[in-house]
């Protein structure tokens, strides 16, 4: 019995502590180093953040080069697919355009009325000048984390928590800022929780990512009157995002209240970062 235990001990020691041929480090040393790295991740200090930012920027740039052949192939297949559906899209867009033309005068009036009402209650009125454009550098969709890397960072005053839009639609928020790049956590990610307002019912809820195409609504009141096609906006609760940024429309699938996003998260090349009050303060 003791001999067998000794054998196991010797085997484990040999496997984990011995460097072996051509190895510079033993497994135990590297495991300890990994644990230290995980523990230091929570520590926020300027020199540490600078080192992290430098490495992350370098890896992102290298990753772009390495992934470029595969990106070209997938880009080409999307190009072909788009051409095949061109005629159908044209007819749909024509119909949509007619509808929008009818709505445009009504919208202008509502916008004017809305800005006057907001001024009346002393609320911040945001304008397009508060937006900063950026390009999506990397869109490696991990099964556990749906995110983008964009090509601006602390060099353009980007800060954690800023809202990210595709056109005028909300798609996510900044979660990690480096010198020349930032990470955008998409609204569809499991870790994404956004306070929202549903129109016309005026119900408040939390839009929660599920790692799939349609995020769902949580914390809705019991007697809500939400139906298919209702529009979801950021509510501005918590003071993180400005209120009234459109997100998507309600789609009830198997009694689960999901949100069909206005922007296709997998077809985005450029995004707008909502700088909030930063630009005005400067």
């Amino acid at each position: 019995m003791d001999t067998r235990r000794d054998d196991v001990g010797i085997s484990i020691r040999s496997a984990l502590l011995d460097k072996g041929t051509k190895q510079k480090f033993s497994l135990v040393v590297l495991v300890i180093f990994s644990i230290i790295l995980i523990l230091t991740e929570k520590i926020e200090s300027k020199p540490l953040n600078s080192v992290r930012s430098f490495f992350k920027d370098a890896v992102y740039r290298t990753s772009i080069v390495i992934s470029s052949p595969l990106s070209m192939v997938s880009g080409f297949s999307i190009f072909i697919e788009n051409h095949l559906t061109l005629s159908r899209n044209y007819n749909e867009l024509k119909k949509e355009n007619d509808k929008l033309k009818n709505n445009i005068s009504k919208k202008n009036f509502l916008e004017l009325e809305n800005s006057q009402l907001r001024k009346l209650i002393d609320e911040q009125v945001d304008s397009d000048s508060n937006l900063l454009s950026a390009r999506v550098m990397l869109d490696k969709q991990s099964p556990y984390l749906n995110s983008y890397i964009i090509n601006i960072g602390s060099n353009k005053n980007i800060k954690n928590g800023m809202a990210v839009l595709s056109g005028k639609n909300f798609i996510g928020r900044i979660v990690d800022v480096n010198f020349f790049s930032s990470r955008v956590l998409l609204i569809s990610d499991l870790n994404s929780k956004i306070p929202v307002l549903i129109e016309p019912s005026a119900n408040h809820a939390v839009l929660s990512g599920r790692g799939v195409k349609y995020p769902t609504l949580e914390y809705l009141p019991e007697k809500h009157t939400i139906k298919d096609g209702d529009v979801v906006y950021t509510s501005g609760r918590g003071g993180i995002f400005s209120p009234g940024i459109p997100i998507g429309e309600i789609k009830i699938i198997d009694k689960i209240i999901s949100v069909s996003l206005f922007s296709d998260l997998y077809q985005i090349t450029f995004v707008n970062i909502h700088l909030g009050n930063l630009k005005k303060n400067n």
Binding site: I38, E41, S63, L138, Y144
Partner: protein, 164 residues
């Protein structure tokens, strides 16, 4: 001339696991995510080469590749590195205690490697306040195990090329 070409070929195939390891990390394709299932090829690659020819895949490269994966996917630094090193540790242990190399032996001993690695992966993400889809992780573990023999055959062919 002939022997030099042979030497170059030998060297290229010996370097292939490392090249593959870094390509997978930098390209963000450690998990092949298909419609109904997903496979973690990173785990299979590390497990196979540490078990069969650790000289071709240094532990420090495995660590570095894990760090790169963490950066590309946006996880806390060290999470992927730690789980890959756990896979490497199990493979190193199995290498020490086994004499005969067979697919069945390798395949069965891959189970604890996946279980330990995914447990570490899940725990580190949980402790770093990241949400994890448990069902996805479970399905991924099963399909990674099921898919192991396919990559085992491919890697064995690669390994034979470095010997011949």
């Amino acid at each position: 001339m002939g022997s030099e070409a042979k030497h170059l070929k030998h060297k290229f195939f010996a370097m292939l696991p490392v090249l593959l390891l870094f390509f997978i990390s930098l390209n963000g394709s450690s998990i092949i995510d298909l419609k109904f299932f997903s496979i973690n090829i990173h785990y299979i690659l590390v497990y196979f080469w540490v078990l069969r020819k650790p000289e071709n895949l240094r532990y420090s490269f495995i660590f570095l590749s894990g760090i790169i994966s963490d950066i590309v996917f946006g996880y806390p630094l060290g999470v992927n590195a730690l789980s890959l090193l756990v896979v490497a540790s199990v493979a190193a242990y199995v290498r020490v205690v086994t004499v005969r190399v067979t697919l069945i032996n390798d395949w069965i001993s891959f189970i604890p490697a996946i279980l330990f690695a995914n447990f570490i992966y899940f725990s580190s993400l949980y402790l770093s306040n990241y949400s994890v889809d448990y069902l996805y992780l479970f399905k991924n573990s099963i399909f990674t195990f099921v898919f192991y023999p396919v990559l085992w055959l491919i890697f064995t062919a690669m390994l034979n090329l470095t010997k011949s």
